[in-house]
């Protein structure tokens, strides 16, 4: 099976500071990969490179054999910030807005059904006419997730999407994400600094330290003992 995304020898620096060094990674279709690392280790930069928001100094990232050189609706990003939702649109309109733009040929009825489907998936069917300001943090992130999923991107890029949520909400959302992924088989690249989160979610965990991949750990067994290993890998 061919990898969906192939990251080949990526180097990236900001001024004098080398952020990423010699990154190589293949992502298979349907995989959920978590990148863990301390803040400032370059994980968000890597995600932005895959999304096409940044250009690498060296190396190349391919999506199905095609070089990624600008952002596109094939790789949709979900952010940590709650204000990623459009405050002036209801939950339904938030999901519908990009969909209308990308799926120009859909009839209004098809659009409506599509939006309803994804709102149901993230369990927000009852809140579709709410404005973002009326939602809790968890509901906002669910909306953002629905908005991204509705576009059926090849890859979902998630930048610590649950980082600002309380523990309970976080658990609920992690569960939902796993369910959704089970149903949609979406390929997900998920960035987090929370080792436990990575262990709950990931098929494979990429441990990133000071811009270098230390190890890529297979997590399909969800073996608890891995936590100590990752912790020690990340300790200075």
């Amino acid at each position: 099976m061919k990898p969906l995304i192939r990251i080949k020898n990526i180097w990236k620096s900001y001024g004098d500071k080398q952020i990423l060094k010699e990154i190589n990674l293949d992502i298979m279709p349907g995989q959920l990969i978590c990148i863990v690392g301390a803040s400032g280790c370059g994980k968000t930069t890597l995600l932005n490179l895959v999304g096409g928001f940044l250009k690498a100094d060296q190396g190349q990232i391919d999506l199905q054999g095609q070089k990624i050189n600008k952002p596109s609706s094939q790789c949709i990003m979900v952010f940590q910030e709650f204000d990623q939702l459009f405050a002036w649109k209801t939950v339904r309109k938030n999901v519908e807005f990009p969909l209308k733009k990308i799926r120009k040929n859909c009839s209004p009825k098809e659009l409506r059904e599509c939006v309803s489907h994804y709102l149901k998936l993230v369990k927000l069917s009852d809140y579709e006419n709410y404005y973002p300001a009326q939602l809790s943090g968890g509901m906002k992130q669910r909306t953002a997730l629905a908005r991204a999923l509705a576009l059926t991107p090849k890859v979902l890029l998630m930048d610590e999407p649950f980082g600002s949520l309380d523990a309970q909400t976080k658990n609920e959302l992690q569960e939902s994400l796993l369910e959704i992924r089970e149903k949609t088989q979406t390929t997900i690249l998920f960035v987090t600094h929370d080792i436990r989160e990575a262990m709950v979610l990931a098929d494979r965990i990429v441990v990133l330290k000071s811009g270098r991949i230390m190890e890529i750990i297979d997590n399909q067994s969800k073996d608890r003992s891995l936590e100590n290993k990752i912790t020690s890998l990340l300790s200075p």
Partner: protein
């Protein structure tokens, strides 16, 4: 009802206005002042109704309002173009910043002698003054608004394959609406003042004149009650626009979205 609560109700403005009118009337009636300085309310309202009845005041107010709407429209479009170019290009941004710091503190009225030389004295000159007073605060607010937009919106726009212009229209403008409305309110207030001052200096070109001209004319013919009538109309328009038009817009947008 406690007095404090009484003044916290939405109609408190009305109560204050009535109190001021009462004080006015008492002064006009009982204080040793000339009726030429302090005409009674009765005289003022008579002047007001006479002018409304013969259509003069209504016509002149519409004239001023048309002018300011035109000016606002031109000013907002220009401000939008300059802000848009500033978002796109850093070089243009420094040009805009320079223009704003030069022209923003400059009252349009101070330019009047030059405006007479450049474009004469017609309505286009008054329009120029209005656009001048609308443009700079609008640009300031637009720029502040666009700068306040979270970076994720820019990324989201790119991610959903919107062009810069589409992002501007569909994402940045609504995202900055709080600032845009604030800018529009300031611009309206400045423009309204500018149009009245300009009319009072230029007077009327031809037979038509605005509300400023109405006041000026009353003044030179020593009709003090008429001057006050004109001022009342200006106040009424101000309150109407502020409370009803802008109030409605805010209620249906930023207040509804929970942005203010």
């Amino acid at each position: 009802m406690r007095i404090r609560e009484f003044f916290l109700k939405p109609y408190s403005k009305l109560v204050w206005i009535l109190l001021m009118m009462l004080a006015w009337e008492l002064v006009a009636k009982f204080a040793p002042v000339s009726a030429l300085a302090f005409p009674s309310l009765q005289q003022i309202f008579k002047a007001l109704f006479d002018s409304i009845k013969n259509g003069e005041l209504v016509y002149q107010m519409l004239f001023s309002l048309t002018l300011i709407l035109e000016g606002l429209f031109i000013g907002v479009v220009l401000a939008f173009i300059m802000s848009f170019l500033s978002v796109v290009s850093k070089v243009f941004e420094s040009f805009t910043d320079t223009c704003v710091s030069i022209f923003h503190p400059l009252p349009g009225i101070a330019l009047l002698p030059l405006i007479i030389l450049w474009i004469g004295t017609g309505t286009s000159a008054i329009l120029f003054v209005i656009v001048h007073s609308v443009l700079w605060p609008m640009i300031l607010n637009m720029n502040a608004g666009f700068k306040s937009i979270p970076d994720v919106y820019r990324k989201i726009g790119d991610n959903y394959e919107f062009s810069r212009f589409q992002s501007m229209i569909r994402i940045f403008i609504p995202a900055a609406l709080t600032y845009l409305l604030a800018g529009l309110k300031i611009s309206w207030a400045r423009g309204w003042r500018a149009v009245i001052s300009a009319e009072m200096i230029f007077g009327a070109s031809g037979s038509i004149g605005g509300i400023g001209w109405y006041i000026f004319n009353r003044r030179v013919f020593m009709d003090t009650a008429g001057v006050y009538a004109g001022i009342l109309v200006i106040i009424a328009v101000g309150i109407l626009v502020e409370d009803f038009i802008f109030g409605k817009i805010e209620k249906n947008t930023i207040k509804k979205w929970g942005l203010s």
